[in-house]
């Protein structure tokens, strides 16, 4: 119930404008099918995540979206254009950060911004861009001398030159240390505030969960689920788990009468209760009523990692060949 309300509320907020639509997309490399019948839509102003392990076909999909690869079959529309036919027009309208791409090592940050600004059709205020993304102090630094986080900051700035309607970000935080990752997430929040639609490819569950409005979970070239992170975890993540410890021979049988509770077991003073997510607060209330107040009451909500495991049978960190 709660989830349904959340979804429709989000829809109102986002509007129903479709920026990207993909229907029954296939891509084969020789005999290997990297993408097998993928369909999804990205709505205006949302951060849309494509989550999957390495080799799931995520990068192939975003490369097809920007005309860097040709599809084998299926329908693709990006900003109303067909990426296979209107490559250059499309690329000027979108911003892109590619996985495993680089700039010449000796190219300086200021030169890179100026060079990429010139490829845009709209005039770009280079100095303002440098200030916005905190690149001004790095202006004269060579690309090759930047840290991973600084390089990603430059790539985000380059992707957003000329305020594109849509940006495609592929594995934005791979290879970054935790503090640089969090700094990059902050950048992405800034991007969203500008009203830009974002397609974010990632194999980090926490990144998808924290940043994305909706997530398409990809496995072996297919989308196995597509919804808000909350709806995905509610529908596919399994039950919420509550644990606490007690003494004095407490038995949790009375908790089975609490609505939404599926199981309640005690083992060696450690009680484990499972049930639907709304049950957690009712269990707490029932314990207080009984005069039981454990100091270590913990609730474990399912994560996207659990969703991924339950839908694909393997963990996100495992590389899977399609």
């Amino acid at each position: 119930m709660l989830i349904a309300e959340e979804s429709s509320g989000l829809e109102d907020q986002l509007g129903t404008d479709t920026v990207v639509s993909v229907a029954d997309l296939h891509k084969a490399y020789g005999r290997t099918e990297a993408v097998r019948g993928v369909s999804f839509e990205v709505r205006r102003r949302e951060i849309f995540g494509i989550l999957g392990s390495n080799g799931a076909g995520k990068t192939t999909v975003v490369e097809i979206l920007q005309g860097l690869r040709d599809r084998t079959s299926g329908e693709v529309s990006v900003l109303g254009l067909d990426p296979a036919r209107e490559k250059n027009r499309l690329r000027r309208g979108i911003g892109s950060q590619l996985q495993s791409s680089a700039l010449p090592d000796r190219l300086r940050v200021g030169e890179a911004v100026t060079l990429f600004a010139r490829a845009r059709h709209t005039p770009v205020d280079v100095a303002a861009t440098m200030t916005t993304w905190g690149l001004t102090p790095l202006r004269d630094r060579a690309f090759g001398s930047l840290s991973g986080g600084e390089q990603q900051r430059l790539f985000v700035a380059l992707a957003l030159l000329g305020d594109p309607e849509l940006v495609l970000l592929d594995e934005l935080t791979t290879g970054l240390d935790p503090s640089a990752r969090h700094a990059t997430w902050d950048l992405l929040h800034q991007v969203r505030e500008r009203g830009t639609t974002v397609v974010l490819v990632t194999h980090f569950m926490d990144e998808a969960e924290t940043l994305c409005d909706r997530v398409a979970v990809m496995d072996r070239g297919q989308v196995v689920a597509c919804d808000t992170p909350a709806a995905l975890t509610a529908h596919h993540g399994g039950p919420v788990t509550i644990t606490f410890s007690t003494t004095d021979g407490y038995r949790p049988d009375h908790l089975l009468a609490v609505p939404g509770v599926e199981s309640a077991t005690a083992r060696g003073g450690q009680v484990t209760v499972t049930g639907e997510s709304a049950a957690a607060v009712r269990v707490a209330a029932a314990l207080v009523e009984r005069g039981v107040s454990p100091v270590d009451y913990r609730t474990h909500y399912p994560s996207l990692e659990d969703v991924f495991l339950s839908m694909t049978g393997h963990r996100l960190s495992e590389k899977v060949s399609s």
Partner: protein, 243 residues
Amino acid sequence: MTRYLTWTEVKLLGREPLVLVLTLMFPLLLMVMLAAAFSKHGGPVFANLDGTQFYVTAYLGASIAMMGFMGTPSHLAGYRERGVLRRFRAAAIPSGAVVASQAAVLALLAVFAAAVMLVLAYLMFDIPAPASAAGVVVAFAAGILAFGGIGTLLGSILPGARSAQGLGLLLFFGTFLLVGGGPPPGVFPDALNAVTSWTPTGLLLDAIRSPWAGDGLHVPATVTLLLISAATFTLATRRLSRN
């Protein structure tokens, strides 16, 4: 776009002075050695030039051929290998601008190398001016265009900098040493010369030497160089814009 990209490439080149010096040093040193060693030779075997002029004209072409067979392809293939070209393509930087900027850098280096060589040749060997300076300039320009196209085409096809360097060495020495960079072609069998004179390097040296020696513009060689240029530039631009 092309102008800014060219300017950027020139600046990048300027930041690697050692590469620049080493690229220019090799033809310069060989030219001085060979021109000095064969200064008393000449005649039909040396294409009707004296030994000094024979090697000076050969090495004027060498810097163009070296850049076209080795410098430009390995630079561009290195860009492909590291994902720079994909980055450019995704940002809608036109492939024509990439090709033109690479060719412009080649032209700049070739002109610079030729100027240094001519000054050095004049100071050390007191060589006479070419019979037709304008003809030599036309041949030199046709050579730059042809090897600019060859360099960008090779760079657009080859997977990485190392393979480009390997193939470049083979192409450069495989042709240059047979058309006058080493022994004069007159000492080789006619059948071999008939083949090697139609290689891009052979065409280039013939095109430069003919006006230099007073035989006028070598029309077949110069026109063929221009045809090579048109074909290779077209193919390179198409290849770089494709997925």
